[in-house]
């Protein structure tokens, strides 16, 4: 057994030390906002237009692309038209940022929840608030009470369903990652496995092609689809809220974001002064009531 050449041993030792040093040294210091501080810690002043946003003096708002009607108009979030676009600008104004200080950013639905630094101040993308999701991101208070509805082709037997029980034997579909899909699994509990689509567009084509009997989407989307996109489809009915609490859409913020309490206050203020109701009237008034499936 020859002893290892000294030079080699020394090199290995040096390399190891250097590696360990970099391993410990290159870990960047966590930033001021401790990641696990309770949201809404005291000491945040929501000074108008002076929030700790990503870009100082600007408010960066994210949504998915394409942006669908009736939430956004013509796939232009920055247009201020469509319910969510209007809400975003109303919240921005409440926070002290006028229209020119709002920067829109396209962020896919799933990317908005990935851990790691967020590139936006808040995301508005028809995201339902749930306790489970609150472990991953912060939500503002709810800006819209949403209900889920069932759409089927007018001449199909699914269109004649009067109750949840009538839907049991059908092939149902919904977009993956949505509460619509949860409603199928938890409320209807169909005999055939629900079809899960990456996008609502594919769910719509499947409905047109007869690959599913009915699809589940939120009520405003259902009204838009039946009015403009799949005109030979009809709204069969809407579900009752699960567990008696209304399902709500909320703005998504980074977990532990300093802005969460400010944005929540802004949404609450808009609800109090009637702005949210007015915008709902303006953009979602077509979404009248549909029969409730018991």
């Amino acid at each position: 057994m020859h002893p290892a050449p000294r030079a080699l041993r020394r090199a290995v030792a040096v390399a190891t030390t250097a590696l360990l040093a970099t391993a410990l040294g290159c870990a960047p210091q966590p930033d001021e906002k401790a990641a696990d501080a309770p949201s809404g810690a005291a000491g945040n002043t929501c000074a108008k237009g002076k929030l700790a946003t990503k870009t100082s003096g600007k408010l960066t708002v994210a949504t998915d692309e394409p942006a669908y009607e009736p939430w956004f108009k013509d796939d232009k979030p920055a247009g201020g038209e469509g319910f969510e676009s209007a809400v975003a600008y109303a919240v921005a104004k409440q926070l002290g940022y006028d229209k020119s200080a709002v920067v829109w950013q396209s962020v896919p639905f799933n990317k908005a929840f990935a851990p790691g630094a967020k590139t936006f101040d808040f995301d508005i993308n028809q995201v339902s608030i749930s306790d489970e999701r609150k472990k991953a991101v912060d939500f503002s208070s709810g800006y819209y009470d949403v209900r889920q509805a069932v759409i089927a082709l007018k001449d199909s037997k699914a269109a004649k369903a009067k109750s949840v029980a009538d839907l049991k034997g059908l092939k149902l579909g919904a977009q993956v990652g949505t509460t619509s899909l949860d409603y199928i699994d938890d409320v209807v509990k169909p005999t055939q496995e629900a079809a899960a689509y990456a996008k609502n567009d594919q769910a719509k084509s499947a409905l047109k092609n007869g690959q599913v009997d009915a699809i589940v989407v939120d009520l405003p989307t259902a009204f838009y689809i039946t009015a403009a996109e799949v005109t030979d489809a009809t709204i069969v009915g809407q579900f009752e809220n699960q567990g008696g609490t209304p399902e709500q859409f909320g703005l998504v913020l980074d977990k532990g974001s300093a802005l969460t309490p400010c944005v929540t206050d802004a949404v609450d203020a808009l609800r109090k002064d009637g702005t949210l109701d007015r915008l709902e009237q303006q953009w979602l008034s077509d979404a009248v009531d549909a029969p409730v499936l018991k």
């Binding site: 020859h2 410990l24 870990a27 990652g177 899960a196 007869g210």
Partner: protein, 305 residues
């Protein structure tokens, strides 16, 4: 973490050749014994150094990851036991769809790919249109992105409302996969057929075999044996791409994970699905390695003229 024995570590193992003839009174010289001992020592040292450097690398990587400022968040988002437990049975359910698609599409792909490859290598002017068609097929389907192929077949074909044509997204998705992968596999087979030396075919023909018999008994067996590794590559790739039929709403392993991720915003189900796929690939690789080795052994035994 496994420490593989380095190549050099095996040098000492075959240093005791020449002792086969027990009756020839051969006694290895002292020098030879020393040499072997030295070789064994070198091998041991190589293994030790390999183990140590692997350990150091592992420790460094571990420290880098665990000391990253975002590690606690990452840990609970990607490695959560609760969600792993919830996802595992659902992902396995979905995996059954992947496995069925892999078996059925795999069989269809092998047959179709072989037919196309043979069509492309046919000789004789009469087969010209067949050769052109086969070439056009491989060019088109190898070039067409699989995801677009799936979109057209799964969402487009039902829109035609043809009588008697299925609208089942799984069957349609399987068809699309078979179309694309047959083109890949046909090229693998063709390369194999063309790599068999022309003298083989000439020898077969001179023995009185027809063109077809020469192909069937002489050329193809050699071609297929050579093509096992690249074929396996395509099979593993197909296994992962079976998940793309979820475009049509079918719930495979990855989509089953998607559903839980979408509800909880926790990414652990993806890790679970990924590990299951890897675990599925490993036995398949070992099996084909074993088959190839067996074929090689058989070839080595016979064939001595």
């Amino acid at each position: 973490m496994t420490v593989t024995k380095e190549e050099s570590g095996q040098e000492g193992a075959d240093g005791d050749g020449g002792r086969s003839g027990a009756g020839d009174g051969y006694v290895p010289s002292q020098r030879r014994l020393d040499r072997e001992r030295h070789k064994r020592a070198r091998a041991r040292r190589a293994t030790a150094i390999g183990a140590l450097s692997t350990l150091v690398t592992g420790v460094v990587l571990y420290l880098v990851v665990v000391n990253a400022p975002g590690w606690p968040r990452t840990k609970e988002t990607f490695f959560d036991q609760e969600y792993a437990r919830e996802a595992f049975p659902k992902v396995l359910d979905g995996l059954w769809l992947n496995v069925r698609l892999l078996l059925i599409c795999g069989a269809c792909v092998l047959v179709l790919g072989m037919l196309i490859a043979v069509a492309r290598t046919l000789r004789g002017p009469v087969f010209f249109p067949l050769r052109v068609l086969a070439a056009a097929y491989t060019d088109f389907f190898r070039g067409l992105p699989l995801i677009i192929n799936l979109m057209i077949v799964v969402l487009g074909v039902p829109a035609l409302r043809l009588q008697g044509v299925t609208v089942d997204p799984v069957l349609l998705g399987g068809t699309a996969l078979t179309l694309t992968y047959s083109a890949y596999v046909a090229e693998v087979f063709r390369a194999g057929i063309e790599s068999v030396h022309p003298s083989q075919r000439a020898a077969a023909r001179s023995l009185g075999l027809t063109n077809r018999q020469a192909l069937r008994h002489v050329v193809l067996p050699q071609a297929v044996r050579r093509q096992v590794p690249p074929l396996l590559n395509d099979l593993v790739s197909l296994q992962k791409d079976t998940g793309l039929v979820s475009i049509g709403g079918a719930v495979d392993a990855v989509r089953a994970a998607d559903i839980i991720v979408g509800r909880s915003l926790n990414y652990t189900p993806y890790i679970v699905a990924g590990l299951i796929f890897v675990a599925l690939t490993i036995p398949m690789t070992r099996f084909t390695d074993w088959v190839t080795a067996r074929m090689d052994r058989r070839r080595a035994q016979g064939g001595a003229l």
